[in-house]
């Protein structure tokens, strides 16, 4: 069942990416570059840093809000996805037990701080990656990759992969369902059956590729796919990039959280 839901999620993110908002209209190259710089900033914080990371939430929140992306769609994915970081991080509280902070008189070990830091970094980077695809269509990303001078062959077959992803996922889903309908419990899921099923799927895929190639040839394919929509770098794109990167620099250099916190605490006192 897990893969079925994942599958529909791809389709869902794909539909989201064809909305028409300010961030959707930005040049994909800008969005890729800024998001990448954002992630570099986030991961460049030392492992015990926690509060300084908080202002960085502004970027994913901006993409989410300005891109009109439903919060739940991203939140659910971030919550359930990629346990590796959590799995590795959970050892920190066990191994690093020296007390680092004592807020409200409660001793908190360095391990918990670094684990929380990993979690915050994880949420920031993963949500940004998901939001990037939610506000940029995949063909748009491919166009950007090509214009960022990645090899044509690579981009071409990436476009192909995406185009046939939905078709083949459907085939795989149908095969899997057909098997489930014919088997009871664990039966029918043995590795032997699996090998035969997947081999047939593979042969079918290769034959499909051969047919596709013939069809392309008959339509005049000469090793190039032309795309209709071309983005151009506009004033807004450059403005967005400059503002975003300047903002990252600012919140990295100036510890806003401490400043706000100190002012507020002083005010309370």
């Amino acid at each position: 069942m897990k893969f079925e839901t994942e599958f529909f999620n791809i389709g869902y993110l794909d539909t989201l990416s064809y909305k028409d908002t300010f961030v959707h209209r930005l040049d994909p190259r800008i969005k890729i570059t800024v998001s990448f710089i954002f992630i570099l900033f986030v991961v460049s914080f030392p492992k015990y840093e926690l509060s300084a990371l908080i202002p960085f939430f502004l970027y994913p929140v901006f993409l989410l809000a300005a891109g009109n992306i439903p919060f739940r769609a991203i939140f659910k994915k971030v919550l359930f996805v990629s346990p590796f970081a959590v799995f590795i991080g959970i050892f920190n509280p066990l191994l690093d037990t020296r007390v680092l902070l004592t807020p409200f008189g409660i001793p908190v070990s360095g391990g918990w701080v670094s684990f929380l830091s990993i979690l915050v970094k994880f949420v920031l980077t993963v949500s940004t990656a998901l939001l990037l695809i939610a506000v940029t269509s995949f063909p748009g990303i491919c166009e950007a990759l090509e214009r960022m001078k990645l090899p044509k062959v690579f981009v071409l077959q990436l476009l192909f992969l995406y185009r046939y992803l939905f078709v083949l996922l459907d085939v795989g889903l149908r095969m899997s369902r057909a098997r489930d309908a014919r088997s009871f419990g664990k039966k029918g899921k043995e590795i032997k059956t699996f090998i035969k099923l997947i081999s047939v799927l593979l042969v079918r895929s290769v034959e499909r590729a051969e047919r596709i190639y013939q069809a392309m040839l008959s339509r005049g394919f000469r090793g190039e796919i032309r795309v209709l929509k071309h983005h151009t770098l506009g004033l807004f794109d450059i403005l967005f990039a400059v503002t975003a990167v300047a903002f990252f620099f600012l919140i990295k250099k100036v510890h806003i959280v401490n400043f706000v916190g100190e002012t507020v605490s002083r005010y309370i006192r």
């Binding site: 050892f91 807020p103 994880f122 980077t125 995406y162 992803l165 806003i256």
Partner: protein
């Protein structure tokens, strides 16, 4: 075993990106020279096949849980090293974007860990060395299992090294290794037998797919492989250097190890106003140019008798208060944009 952004330092992530990107460009160049246009749709469709194949799961023998194939080595056997590497990279790009497996910075490391080893070690050096023309099914099985297992072991080892070099986990190297390698041995054996089964069965259905595809003809020769390795190494070193300016403002794993080598004494300090920190930072950079030492307390040594910094509880309290305030403002900002959009839509 997808790496995650949150476990990587910019230096390690950047270096892995450079290595992977360099390999992608090199592979594309190789393909261009011996280009068969037929390969483009085949590569794309086989990439999509990997996703579709992962929809079909199977029961892992003896455990009862279910698994699915990774497919890296299968691609290498079907397509040969250069196209296979490009397809694996593509599959990982789609996974990183749509499934959020890992993240964008970790993508470079993931392409390396899951692509380089099957495409440039497992396939040419192990599989091709064992499987000759008209090989029997038994030979193909042995070769598949061996190459998959070794490829995955190298991949797991790389994950350990990358995480350790990034200096984010507290796990000791040996424990981490003991955790990763045996698990991936088991995974490798299952994946290896599954791969072997598929190759053998497909061979009986359509022998040409397995035996006559590009892969058999263009098994990479030792010479170009050596060239590739040299290019990758140079690229990794250059970007490692370029990216270390990021490291220069804040400490990370590399600095932590450098610090260990130089044995710099720890100076406990209070975390406080920005100006004070910046002044200290400048002092430090003068002593060890390019590498600033921990600004926020001397947190980076794991061992050693250095005293743990005494942190002013007031500061940590204001850190927490400030964090929540800033977060609240950001959330309000997001809700505000959404609200304004809705108002606009109403009008």
């Amino acid at each position: 075993m997808h790496m995650a952004d949150a476990l990587l330092s910019p230096v390690v992530g950047g270096a892995m990106w450079a290595g992977s990107l360099g390999t992608i460009i090199y592979c594309a160049k190789q393909l261009k020279e011996q280009m068969d246009e037929k390969l483009i749709p085949l590569m794309g469709v086989l990439g999509a096949f990997i996703f579709a194949g992962q929809m079909i799961n199977f029961t892992i023998p003896m455990t009862g849980s279910s698994g699915h194939i990774g497919g890296g080595m299968l691609l290498a056997i079907l397509l040969g090293p250069y196209p296979a590497f490009l397809v694996i990279a593509s599959v990982l790009i789609v996974q990183a974007l749509f499934f959020a497996d890992g993240g964008l910075l970790a993508l470079g490391a993931n392409i390396w860990n899951l692509g380089i080893y099957p495409a440039f070690i497992g396939y040419p050096l192990i599989y091709r060395a064992i499987v000759k023309q008209n090989a029997s099914n038994k030979v193909i099985t042995i070769a598949s299992v061996l190459s998959v297992v070794i490829g995955l072991q190298l991949g797991a080892l790389s994950v350990v090294l990358e995480t350790k070099l990034s200096g984010i986990t507290e796990l000791p190297f040996s424990t981490f290794l003991l955790m990763m390698q045996p698990i991936h041995l088991a995974i490798g054996l299952i994946e290896g037998f599954a791969t072997a089964g598929i190759v053998v069965y497909v061979r009986s259905l359509r022998p040409d797919i397995v035996d006559n595809l590009e892969g058999v003809k263009s098994a990479s020769s030792g010479g170009s492989l050596k060239k590739l390795l040299i290019i990758m190494a140079i690229l990794a070193v250059i970007t490692g250097g370029a990216f270390s300016w990021f490291a220069s403002t804040h400490p990370d794993g590399l600095e932590w190890s450098i610090e260990k080598i130089y044995g710099k004494p720890e100076v406990p300090e209070k975390q406080n106003p920005v100006t004070e920190n910046l002044a200290k930072l400048q002092e430090k950079t003068a002593i060890l140019p390019g590498y600033s030492l921990p600004v926020k307390g001397a947190e980076n040594t794991e061992s050693g008798p250095s005293p743990w910094p005494a942190v002013d509880p007031g500061t940590s309290l204001s850190g927490i208060v400030g964090s929540f305030m800033v977060l609240a403002v950001i959330i309000l900002f997001g809700i505000g944009i959404k609200f304004m959009r809705r108002q606009k839509a109403k009008m």
